[in-house]
Symmetry: C2
């Protein structure tokens, strides 16, 4: 008997020109230097102000049984973990599952309220995914971002499903999805047009070259 293996999905909110964050990220500005009214709000407003309208996509995003994220997404702390930082999401993060954070600096697992446990993985993207797969026990794994992390997984051929949430503006600079990723054959499997964002799901079929 083999254990069923879940999909590896990636949920990423991007601008029309593919940016997931602007330049100059900091603790005050997690999505980079703001324009007139903030990239963060422009990008992610669909999850908060418009959460009812986008319930299906949010439910699908939180249905994963384990998560992977880059350290940039986890927080602005660089280098050693020399000050307390447990992510942007408060005491009870919305993941309710194991979250594997890519980092070069070892740190003990950090349990949070509501069954989220942040574990810190220092041996690379494949190791982090392996641990997430094991933790998911046949359920889906979701790679949450940022774009740099997603690009590493795409380049390694480790993403089955790419769920893009496209916000109607361009940034022109920042961290861009697909940057450095080789040509990929995709299949658009689902699309839903919300009031501002467009939700598009692609299955990643193969590398073209």
């Amino acid at each position: 008997m083999t254990t069923p293996v879940g999909r590896v999905a990636c949920d990423l909110t991007v601008t029309v020109d593919g940016y997931a964050a602007g330049t100059g990220q900091s603790e005050e500005r997690p999505f980079g230097e703001d324009g007139a009214d903030g990239w963060g709000g422009r990008l992610h407003g669909w999850m908060f102000e418009q959460s009812e309208e986008n319930r299906a996509e949010l439910d699908r995003m939180t249905a994963a049984k384990a998560y992977v994220m880059g350290r940039n997404m986890f927080g602005p702390v660089r280098g050693a973990w020399d000050r307390p930082w447990n992510g942007w999401w408060g005491d009870e993060p919305p993941f309710h599952a194991p979250v594997f954070v890519l980092t070069h600096h070892p740190r003990d697992p950090q349990p949070m309220a509501g069954s989220t446990v942040f574990s810190f993985v220092t041996d690379g993207v494949e190791a982090a995914l392996e641990r997430a797969r094991a933790a998911a026990g046949g359920g889906d794994v979701s790679v949450l971002g940022g774009a740099t992390t997603v690009n590493q997984y795409l380049a390694a051929g480790l993403i089955d499903e790419l769920r893009l949430h496209i916000a109607p503006f361009t940034l022109g600079a920042g961290t861009r999805l697909f940057d450095g990723v080789p040509a990929l054959e995709l299949e658009r499997t689902q699309i839903r047009v919300a009031s501002t964002v467009t939700h598009v799901t692609y299955r990643v079929l193969s590398r073209i070259r």
Copy 2:
């Protein structure tokens, strides 16, 4: 009495990562180095093999009263016009209207069958658009590409409507839409899901910064 001024639209077929052509364009490979079965066909198959299904978008594209295109899109001839070249589209191109081709090298207008006239503009993007507007007589003008030309018009704030035809693959390299274009506020005004491509129309509202 003022003459009604038409919109300036842009129709561009792009990959999911925003490329309108690969690297290494040549006369034999107008869309750049091919992969297994050719970017050109992958990108533009919706206009040819699937022309019935995509009739609405094709009709809208050919409804313009004048066109602008970059020299790269017109053909592979570089430098002076030292050999005959009247575009990729045969004796009767599908434009049936004046087409203004951006170039650094003067050339006499080239009339074709079916009312297409290629005129060559050496004094820049704004001059080419001005001539196209005048020729369109209040009708719409369409900037046809390539991406380098579209980016110049976007950066100059001269595009009202961006009609993207998104093909389900990524290229990873080549000529990319929005490259060097400042942050723009967009409004998604129309979307139609065809069997392979996704047609998305954005109104360009303003520069964000």
